[in-house]
Symmetry: C2
Subunit: 332 residues, 2 copies
């Protein structure tokens, strides 16, 4: 392989290979988690994260690239238990991009930041010649404070833990692919883009015994669970019957040939928690607007290590791998 | 105006208008400085900055996009007196980009980070379809600690202050434009890309009476000085005779019709300092490999406010404005 392929950006197997082979040896990456957790900053811990957004189309049912970029970084900070504080916005614009669209996107970023309580404190704008970008790309990088006593990392996942999912899967990915291909559903399928920090805040008030969290974006629920299984050297077993898939997403996936387990989400989370805290946490989550459908979808076992197993609705067992190839490029 | 033009990214007048009109009303930008200074992070101050790099070509005499991206963010942190600690790398790759080139760029980023003592702690990789980007774009965002007693901001600039320049101007911009147009100079003109944190560290050990600093990148020395004059409501007067312009840069500028005052630099700084500290600082700077040509190029007066005046070598006075239009697009 000597050229970059679209699937190198899909969030799945090929991206993980690329990162392992070329990035890990060169960079001081703290882990392959959503945010780096940095200790000793003025005596405390902070989380630091970056994400570039290249979603196509930039406007889609339920959102646009601007709010997606803010919410996505808020969520990456939240997944390590950080309280999001500050965010930067790095824009790459293509010559000829509509200033009206830019205004709409900036105002969505501002509204999203205000909603989640994060402040956009620094920015950068570059313009490239027509044909050298695709309208607008946005990088957001964020920092947040991790309070004492909070330590969320896949390495803490232990056999016996329960796997909680906060809401239905597949809405974001399907909304994008539908818009891209001019398909419309009735009722429309909207992206679930939303900031998860307030939900996480409620969860952490209930218990600090949350071992790992992920927002299953690129690569979907399947890829995120596989990442956790690998990082924790455990086996995660999930039950197909327990996973909420909206009827519309189910239908669209059948029509388009996608597996909802691999479709990107932008407003739900997976939490792996100490078993005896699961019920309490679910009660807390159900009271939050983003956690109404929270449920236990599976649990953590010791063996077979680094595997994800799906108990299917007809009673079989399927091995779940990471997304391979490029099911849905440029989904975020 | 309803479309983005290349000149909106040039660092000059049009970019400032765009930022003032559309970004400032929406974002909580701390200032238009290189980095946001954030107080109260675990009880202390940190600096936070972001920059996207879209330089074309990605390999140029004296450097490549990877080390430029690391050094640029190290420098933005250094300009507010922060000690650079951590940096993120957000890559946007075009489908078909050479993995060999990617390896070279990542290894340059790693070497640049190691050289300046900053750690690359988080990353993100997106891939867009062929023809929707230009090889590789890199965003770097960085954080650094600002020690107590350091308070560098254009608002502190006072009439009577001296303007120090750390080295010769024009090398980076000319190296890029030459490479882009297949022109070669003998001796070659190399980009000055370099991390300024160690020079700044030496300067701050000598005195904390540094009022403002800038690394004059996009828009060049002229635009940076004009930004400081506006932010401090002072008049900055500089002497053409005192500004070091290498012979090669002078010749290239004549040939290509550029004014060296507006050409981008990536390894020099302007410092506005208390007058009685200028000599001491210059002595310190001259001992540093990046400060060998340090000199006073002008001083700060009260009137006419928000103006930059150039005393020309033939005894006249020229009003210096920001760069207008797109002298050199995609210079960083």
């Amino acid at each position: 392989m000597d050229k970059i392929l679209l699937s190198h950006g899909s969030g799945g197997t090929m991206m993980h290979q690329l990162i392992k082979e070329y990035f890990v040896p060169q960079f001081s990456l703290k882990s392959l988690d959503d945010s780096a957790v940095l200790e000793g900053i003025n005596g405390g811990k902070i989380a630091f994260t970056t994400d570039s957004y290249v979603v196509s189309p930039i406007f889609f049912p339920g959102g646009n690239i601007g709010e997606l970029a803010v919410n996505g970084t808020v969520n990456d900070l939240s997944m390590v238990g950080a309280r999001p504080l500050y965010i930067t916005a790095g824009l790459i614009l293509e010559e000829g991009f509509s200033i009206e669209d830019l205004k709409t996107i900036l105002s969505s970023m501002s509204a999203a930041a205000e909603y989640s309580g994060i402040k956009i404190v620094a920015g950068d704008t570059k313009v490239v010649d027509k044909g050298k970008a695709d309208g607008i790309f946005i990088n957001t990088s964020g920092i947040g404070i991790i309070e004492e006593g909070i330590d969320i990392s896949p390495s803490k996942v232990t056999p016996g833990d329960k796997v909680i999912l906060s809401g239905p899967i597949g809405n974001h990915g399907i909304s994008i692919i539908a818009e891209r291909n001019g398909i419309s559903f009735n009722p429309p399928i909207l992206s679930d883009t939303a900031p998860l920090n307030s939900l996480v805040n409620d969860m952490l008030k209930t218990t600090k015994e949350i071992h790992a969290m992920r927002d299953p974006t690129r690569g979907g629920l399947a890829t995120s669970l596989k990442e956790i299984a690998i990082a924790s050297r455990t086996c995660i077993t999930i039950r197909e019957n327990s996973i909420p898939v909206p009827e519309g997403v189910k239908g669209a996936c059948e029509l388009l040939g996608f597996d909802p387990l691999y479709v990107a989400n932008e407003g739900i989370l997976i939490a792996i928690v100490k078993a005896d805290m699961a019920e309490l946490l679910i009660n807390t989550m159900k009271k939050h607007p983003l956690g109404g459908n929270a449920c236990v979808i599976g649990d953590v076992k010791e063996d077979p290590s680094e595997m994800v197993l799906l108990k299917t609705s007809i009673g079989g067992t399927r091995i779940i791998e990471m997304l391979s190839g490029d099911q849905l490029p440029r989904i975020c």
